[in-house]
Symmetry: C2
Subunit: 138 residues, 2 copies
DNA sequence: AAGCAAATGAGAAGAGTTCTCATTCTTATT
DNA sequence: AATAAGAATGAGAACTCTTCTCATTTGCTT
């Protein structure tokens, strides 16, 4: 069990936190809601409260271990921080999520912020569409 | 009272709808939550239910009269459709919202969607930062 | 003016998330 | 290794935003 990551983030190495971190790291699915994490842990026999999952994910976010996204549909989606910033393109049919990085867009955003007199802190870009798979099914 | 806009949208010209449309058109503030609209109407002596405001705004959205945004903070924000598509840059301190259009970014997005095999239906780009005013107040 | 379908308002209900607080766990200290 | 002090947890209540339900009202057609 690797508690060093938590310690480094200034968080006590409690069992729920370790379980959640471990789960996030090992899951093949990258983008998960708090509910997803909660259910998955329950199913693998762990005892966690939903409130704890929310709390811990929020702490992970503050610690920079995790990024929170606001995809359409209301609920927050979390993703392990794996270095490079990226944006998302998602399928409105099947919910599939792809990632991309585009330096030109990044540059443009900085430029716009500067022009408008803003000191940019963050940005979010989501492209919505129908993925290749779903286009075939019509 | 101008009911033609509603008729054109295929909506019956009811009083609540007219009031809401009128309010949206005359408000200097461009981006408003359902709650904002509701409160404003109450204050100006109109009798509307919150449920109706939500319903009507959703209908206006479907009719293309209004655009719905999902800024951070959970609630939906509505804006009168005034022709050209644009993106938003918002101040995380005071909540101010500015708009911008960037053809380069638009192009890039289309290109990315195509590369990833998606047929793009929509996109949303929000830049967050601290606006000029708020930077001074530090 | 009358009738019918559509729209409304009030409150209940639902989804997602946060809060409360008694109990349990971590960790620093013996 | 035992202990004490404080932090974290779990369960459910509570909260926010939004949608639904349904009895009543309104708009539109005849």
């Amino acid at each position: 069990m690797d508690s060093s990551e938590l310690k480094r983030a200034g968080l006590k190495a409690t069992l729920p936190r370790l379980k959640i971190l471990e789960f996030l790291e090992n899951s093949k699915v990258r983008h998960m809601s708090a509910e997803d994490v909660y259910k998955a842990l329950l199913e693998s026999g762990e005892e966690v409260g939903l409130a704890t999952v929310y709390r811990v994910l929020t702490q992970f976010e503050a610690a920079g271990l995790v990024v929170r996204h606001h995809f359409e549909g209301g609920q927050s989606v979390f993703e392990m921080e794996h270095g490079e910033h990226h944006d998302h393109i998602l399928c409105v049919r099947c919910g599939k999520v792809d990632e991309f990085v585009d330096e030109t867009i990044e540059e443009r955003q900085k430029k716009i912020a500067k022009e408008k007199g803003y000191s940019m802190t963050d940005h979010s870009l989501y492209i919505y569409g129908v993925c290749g798979e779903c286009q075939k099914e019509e």
